[in-house]
């Protein structure tokens, strides 16, 4: 498989993660605890996607892992604060 095809495949997986996460989130409207759980699972999947993507690309470093984790943390904070307000 060519590099470009790999890239497409990776981004299809990424779109699937956020798409499934968003759909589940809407299905659970009115149930904040489960919605938050879905948000956390989607975020962890995103971090996992980032790690696998960079590992396959050959540029995985601790700095990159931390960056994905921090972006994920910010996302979870967004959900927690808005749900808690």
């Amino acid at each position: 498989m060519t590099t470009r095809k790999w890239q497409y495949l990776h981004y299809i997986v990424l779109f699937s993660i956020v798409g499934v996460g968003a759909t589940a989130f809407f299905q659970l409207a009115g149930n904040s605890p489960l919605q938050l759980l879905i948000g956390i699972v989607t975020t962890l999947s995103y971090i996992g996607w980032g790690i696998i993507h960079h590992a396959l690309h050959g540029d995985l470093h601790m700095k990159v892992v931390v960056e994905y984790a921090v972006i994920g943390l910010v996302a979870i904070f967004f959900l927690i604060t808005v749900m808690g307000s």
């Binding site: 981004y11 968003a22 809407f26 919605q35 700095k63 910010v74 959900l79 927690i80 808005v82």
Partner: protein
Amino acid sequence: MRDILVHLFVPLHTNNHRAKVLHVDSLMFLAVLYMGFYLVTGWVRTEYPDVLGYATDIRVEQLVALVNAKRAEHSLGPLTLNSELSQAAAGKAQDMLAKNYWAHTSPDGKVPWDFILGAGYQYSVAGENLAKNFSDSNGVITAWMNSSSHRDNLLKPGYRDIGFAVVNGVLNGEETTLVVQMFGAPKAVAAVVQKPIVKVAQAEEPTVVTTSVPATGLVEIPKEASAIAVAETNNSPATSGYYAATREPLIDRSALTKNVTYILGGLIIAVLLLDAWIVRRRRIVRIAGHNLAHALFVLTILYLVSQIVPGVVL
């Protein structure tokens, strides 16, 4: 000043070719600042609810109209607002605030049917839905419709009457707007549409509460459901304080939090895209995460945030 802004938002040799805002330490700083904002506004809300609280405007007539509209969409007959069920709902709301609980069963074991029978409504089938902290009537009904168990109550063909209580109060030390919804069918009516009384206990799903009348010595009082007008609840002294709940603080905390979230999330997305564009144009090679993937992810989270409505149902 210009140098500082460039250092913060544009990848240069001074920031190791990545906008300083996107560095891990900067993102952590922003995250801590954001959580600090959340905690401070939470404290202000508790201490000064008139200044920074939550705005709400929920009215019983709107709730009844919305419920009946949903039932009409499913070819079901309308429910009539019943003063006894409204009185039962008001009693339940009063009990929750007085005893500080948020549940279908009170700490001393009182169930919804106790309130319904206590108000003088002799039922063969009854149900209860609860909601708190919603900003408007539509949000309450939407949340109930999105929960299968509450939806089952709203769309149950066997019900004939409905009662509501909407009230502001303090629950667990927090300013709250409670909505209590009671359903029922009087014995005489339900006997036609129901099979012999069966007790349905739903321990797994306490949000749907449907049961039969217990074998008590109470005398059944037949009533014509259609004869009970909406205005009757308006005039009932027992429920007059439970007909609407409005609150308009100086600043709505929920809207403020959402707006701050949009600004911070939007800033992160904008800097990610700017950084990606400059790095691509200058052909800079560096070790970092994918800006476009980050931007897509944060954008998705912001969209989810925009769909969150305040409030909890039970």
